[in-house]
């Protein structure tokens, strides 16, 4: 085994995990909401990017915002349908409804894009870098750079802007925030829109690494769940660190044991942690 190569793989996989999970981190941290359609929204983001490039001939840098707009639209629609449940904080029903949305997205994507696998090639994914016995693509570099930028911007937005302050207030106490004149609905819509845009961006970045299928998306939910819980629910920095750590784990487990069982192994790690600390490595609401 080439250790340096695996560390490199782990870094790239880890940053992609963190990027896939970022929307959920905010969703759970600010709005205390979960979205099981997350994986199918990832799938949709990948296919919209593919379609924009291969069917409509758009350049990659325009295909990305297209996918993000579709992601925001889907998130907006979901939140519109679930608004009553969100305001009641009826988590049990919200979870099942988002599962339903995932099923609908899966069906709709199958209808539009068919059931065969597609290759999502970008100008970056086709350019390889060979350095001594190491190999990576320009897409890999892009993933790491974009992930770091997104995390920095989110951190600044949550800490320094009015919007971020409102979001943290709603996370702390929705009722009190309402008394202060904050429109809680707008914050929920904003958080959902961010999740939709972020997961579509993640798909446009990460999906070119493997062939894409409309049936994918289930493992992405597990990855996201692991990142969010290991990172301390709602913590932005925690998610980044947990993402990179899980990426390393995946790279080495895949190389040393078996790539087929990485998700299962990741889940066992997560379970062990949850059994030892049922609340996860929880931090305060809207935490840092």
């Amino acid at each position: 085994m080439n250790v340096t190569q695996q560390i490199l793989n782990g870094l790239v996989i880890g940053h992609s995990y963190a990027l896939i999970a970022i929307g959920w981190t905010v969703l759970l941290g600010v709005a205390k909401l979960v979205n099981f359609a997350h994986g199918q929204m990832y799938m949709l983001g990948a296919f919209v990017t593919w379609s924009a490039i291969s069917q409509f001939g758009l350049p990659y840098f325009l295909a990305i915002p297209t996918a993000m707009i579709v992601g925001v639209a889907v998130a907006f629609l979901m939140q519109r349908v679930m608004l009553g449940l969100t305001l009641k904080q009826d988590l049990v029903s919200i979870m099942i409804v988002t599962l339903g949305f995932g099923h609908v997205l899966h069906g709709a994507a199958g209808l539009i894009f068919g059931s065969t696998g597609k290759l999502l090639d970008t100008p970056f994914s086709l350019r390889d870098v060979y350095y001594e016995d190491l190999w990576f693509t320009h897409q890999d570099i892009l993933i790491v750079v974009v992930t770091v930028l997104v995390f920095l911007m989110l951190k600044l937005a949550l800490d320094r802007t009015t919007m971020g302050r409102y979001a943290r207030m709603v996370a702390e106490d929705p009722d009190l925030a309402r008394l202060d004149g904050i429109d809680v609905r707008k914050v929920y819509f904003g958080v959902f829109a961010f999740q939709g845009a972020a997961v579509a961006l993640a798909a446009a970045m990460v999906a070119p690494r493997t062939p894409i299928l409309t049936s994918m998306g289930f493992e992405e939910v597990i990855i996201t769940f692991a990142v969010v819980v290991l990172g301390g629910i709602g913590s932005v920095w925690g998610s980044y660190v947990a993402g990179v750590a899980l990426g390393m784990f995946t790279a080495f487990f895949g190389a040393l044991v078996s790539p087929a069982y990485t998700t299962a192994a990741m889940f066992v790690v997560l379970l062990t942690l949850l059994v030892l600390r049922p609340g996860g490595l929880a931090v305060g609401p809207g935490g840092r």
């Binding site: 979960v34 679930m82 099942i96 339903g100 099923h103 069906g107 889940f267």
Partner: protein, 327 residues
């Protein structure tokens, strides 16, 4: 609305139910649909106890269904065990899984509980696809016919029509168990924990133990549906862990109404009727099933029965003018 069936009425319903497929023409498509309705209804009743009575969402129930199907397939194909033996083994293995799952999730609640159970289902799918012991991606093929020969009683079933009595009997036993559970002390304890955990603890009910016991009742029910499903299909693959079964169970449980004995059966009937006789192809059927689930939970949380009740109350309520005249 509490439906008190009464014994004669229940017996009449059972007799009519048994002969319903032949009353509807008795084609093999009808028998297949009825058998699948019975199997999937039994599968859904296991989840019904967790969702309607415990008030939590287990997304791992497809795993219990798969445990039944795989246990049956492995024992009958590789070891030549008959249906009675595979049923006993199914119940035993599903209890072991339920204990394991119950212990792991003992202290988890709400969304962490649901996420862990969901992860169990997804991980089980990847394991089933890759592990040779479970047949890998090919699954296990060539299940023998359903043949029982006990104490001079001979029964053999090859087709769905011949399996229908088994499916119907399994459904009746399940209905009886669910009804008995709801009357039992455990059923009452589960409802108390669901509605008011603090009150439950003050009344001396241990919520964690209650949840574990409810799991132990629920898992074998869903697993026994997997047992019959294996014989019906004659092969078992990782498909039994697909999201379809989860969505089917959840929709069947919430569609008609909570804590109504026949609701999951009616829910499954509605869904399968659409899929078997009014299908628009796999993708659109998937959209319909997902939308049904979304619409019920977001807009008619009481299910169709709840919506019907609200409507009836509105119709009955006299207008203000009538109310004045009535004085």
């Amino acid at each position: 609305m509490k439906i008190d069936l009464g014994l004669p009425f229940a017996l009449a319903a059972i007799v009519i139910g048994y002969f319903l497929p032949s009353l509807l023409g008795g084609s093999s498509a009808i028998y297949s649909a009825f058998l699948l309705i019975a199997i999937f209804a039994v599968m859904s009743y296991g989840l019904d106890l967790i969702v309607s009575d415990m008030g939590e969402v287990s997304l791992a129930h497809p795993v219990f269904f798969a445990v039944g199907a795989y246990t049956t397939a492995i024992l009958s194909v590789r070891h030549g065990v008959g249906p009675a033996g595979t049923l006993l083994a199914t119940i035993g293995v599903s209890l072991l899984f339920a204990v394991a799952m119950g212990l792991i999730t003992l202290r988890l609640r709400e969304f962490v509980f649901s996420l862990v159970t969901y992860s169990v289902a997804v991980v089980a799918l990847t394991v089933a696809q890759n592990w040779n012991f479970l047949g890998g991606s090919d699954g296990i093929t060539g299940l023998p016919a359903f043949e029982i020969g006990l104490f001079g009683f001979e029964f053999s079933a090859m087709t769905d029509r011949e399996l229908w009595p088994v499916g119907f009997l399994l459904l009746l036993v399940t209905l009886y168990v669910v009804a008995a559970f709801r009357r039992s002390r455990l059923g009452h304890a589960a409802m108390t924990v669901h509605l008011n955990q603090k009150l439950a603890i003050m009344s001396g009910i241990d919520p964690q133990r209650t949840r574990m016991y409810v799991f132990l009742v629920s898992a074998p029910i869903t697993a026994s549906a997997g047992w019959l499903y294996a014989y019906q299909r004659a092969y078992v693959s990782a498909d039994v862990l697909s999201a379809y079964f989860l969505l089917l169970m959840l929709t069947a449980v919430v569609l008609i109404g909570r804590r109504v004995l026949l609701a999951p059966l009616l829910g499954v009937t509605v869904i399968l009727f659409q899929e078997k006789f009014m299908s628009f192809g796999g993708y659109i059927d998937r959209i319909i099933l997902g939308c049904a689930l979304i619409v019920v939970l977001a807009f008619i949380p009481g299910g169709l029965i709840g919506a019907f009740r609200t409507l009836r109350q509105r119709l009955r309520r006299p207008s203000p003018k009538q109310a004045l005249e009535a004085r």
